[in-house]
Symmetry: C2
Subunit: 292 residues, 2 copies
């Protein structure tokens, strides 16, 4: 069924690993174990050890030894965190900065080696195609999960959402004047709050508030600006619909402001039909409904 596509992807994987794998060789040529080089590469100004451990998925003993070795080479310096004496913060010495710059240059050089043999228009096509692959792989890695509305991730999304509404609506936005959706209303069984995750960070949200009579309201649909174009909104909406169906709902409703035209396009393309206003939301210009 996906036979040809799978073959193409596997061909891609082979060719790309061959090319990209060359980076490890060039890193190794600096005469340092790969894990030390990678660690050095991850240390920005004053990173704490625990963050490094999570990012590189290394055993605490392992990372401790690697840091000891980098320290012996005079590349890093560790200090205790001023606010929590248990955690150690790592910073690069001037020599370490230098060394990291060298690794950066090697990465740049690898990228250049892809471009150099090509003609200008081929280069453009390569870079465009790479951007597309990257975008779609990232889109595939997005995960939509149920989250308590009071969680830090949910709160962060809501803050961003309100900030954006206030910037985009002609009249600004004041949550207290808008129809509310309280944390309880977005917590099972009264409703749901979903967060889209990518690389461990929230990228968008969406909520469902269950009303009487087998009907539900879609609220708080938002996608982080850096993650737009990945189809997060659509996935969010479909996830909400799936949960609504599971909860036995037969109709979904939502309202939106005329400034949010990409949202309207999404709703229409997902089968929502414009209906007469069904509430008095002061910021809404359009009301939609979909039978499940």
């Amino acid at each position: 069924m996906f036979k040809g596509q799978i073959e193409q992807i596997r061909r891609f994987n082979r060719v790309v690993t061959l090319h990209v794998g060359a980076l490890e060789d060039s890193y190794l040529q600096r005469g340092r174990p790969l894990s030390e080089a990678r660690l050095l590469h991850e240390i920005r100004d004053n990173t704490d050890v625990r963050t490094l451990r999570e990012r590189l998925k290394l055993d605490s003993g392992h990372i401790s030894r690697l840091l000891r070795s980098l320290k012996a080479q005079g590349l890093v310096r560790t200090t205790a965190d001023p606010s929590d004496g248990r955690v150690r913060r790592v910073a690069l010495t001037p020599g370490g900065l230098n060394e990291r710059a060298t690794y950066e240059a090697l990465s740049d050089e690898l990228a250049m080696s892809f471009l150099r043999p090509l003609e200008p228009h081929q280069r453009d096509r390569l870079v465009d195609a790479m951007a597309e692959v990257e975008r779609l792989l990232r889109a595939g890695a997005v995960e939509v999960r149920l989250e308590p509305p009071a969680s830090a991730a949910a709160q962060w999304c809501l803050e961003q959402y309100f900030a954006e509404l206030s910037a985009r609506f002609e009249v600004g936005f004041d949550p207290s004047r808008s129809n509310p959706a309280s944390p309880e209303e977005m917590t099972p069984p009264s409703g749901f709050f979903l967060v889209a995750w990518l690389d461990g960070a929230p990228q968008g949200c969406g909520a469902l508030k269950i009303s009487d009579g087998g009907s539900g309201e879609v609220k708080r649909m938002w996608t982080a600006p850096t993650a737009r174009g990945l189809g997060i909104g659509r996935r969010m909406l479909r996830s909400l619909e799936a949960m609504a169906r599971e909860a036995g709902l037969t109709r979904l409703r939502l309202e939106t402001n005329r400034a949010l035209n990409e949202a309207q396009t999404l709703y229409r393309s997902e089968g929502y039909q414009e209906v007469a206003p069904f509430n008095a939301e002061p910021y809404a210009h359009h009301w939609f409904e979909k039978k499940l």
Copy 2:
């Protein structure tokens, strides 16, 4: 200068290694060291050890031990090469075939995992973009080298070239009726023979035959069908021109058959102009010339 492009490529590299790197994890989950799994994967019917060593770039001691381990697991069988008692040939047992099929399935599964979360049109775009990246990376890896016309690679290219002409010309092709280009005429200082290489295999050729009066003739321009679209013909032609300039030539000439329209397109786009016939080549319909 290429700043933005380099950044995009590095972003691509990061995202792709993250995704493609998952293959190693899934290979490891079969409880076998990665190098054994990779080796198993490379063994087709009756491969000899030396080929495996070259392909995987492993130390002979290392590969010997890996094979011993695979043999102990009942996955491979080795026999002496019938024609050369020093080399050993390796073949998969039924169990080995089975095991390799399992690894293949894991690779397919990884590819599927890229597609599954995407919508149909996103899938198409991902696969197209991957094809483009693969194509252009491969194109960049093509190497054009001077080769003696009598070498095995050159001879292979010429055979393929003649076979293709005989298939594509309406009247077939008989080298002995065509204007000749002898090995001596394509060997410095009388001329040059270039071969384009990719992954250790010849992919195309082109020759320059130096005539009197600062003039040269381009001959034997051919690209393997599997390598078309990588710009090999263009690179070949430009390489020949560069060598012609170095040899002090001021004019290049060539003739071609009307069946080879992609060749004509190439010549015109590289600045060759059609001129009156300058020789009596019986298979030619168009004659071209370019001032260097």
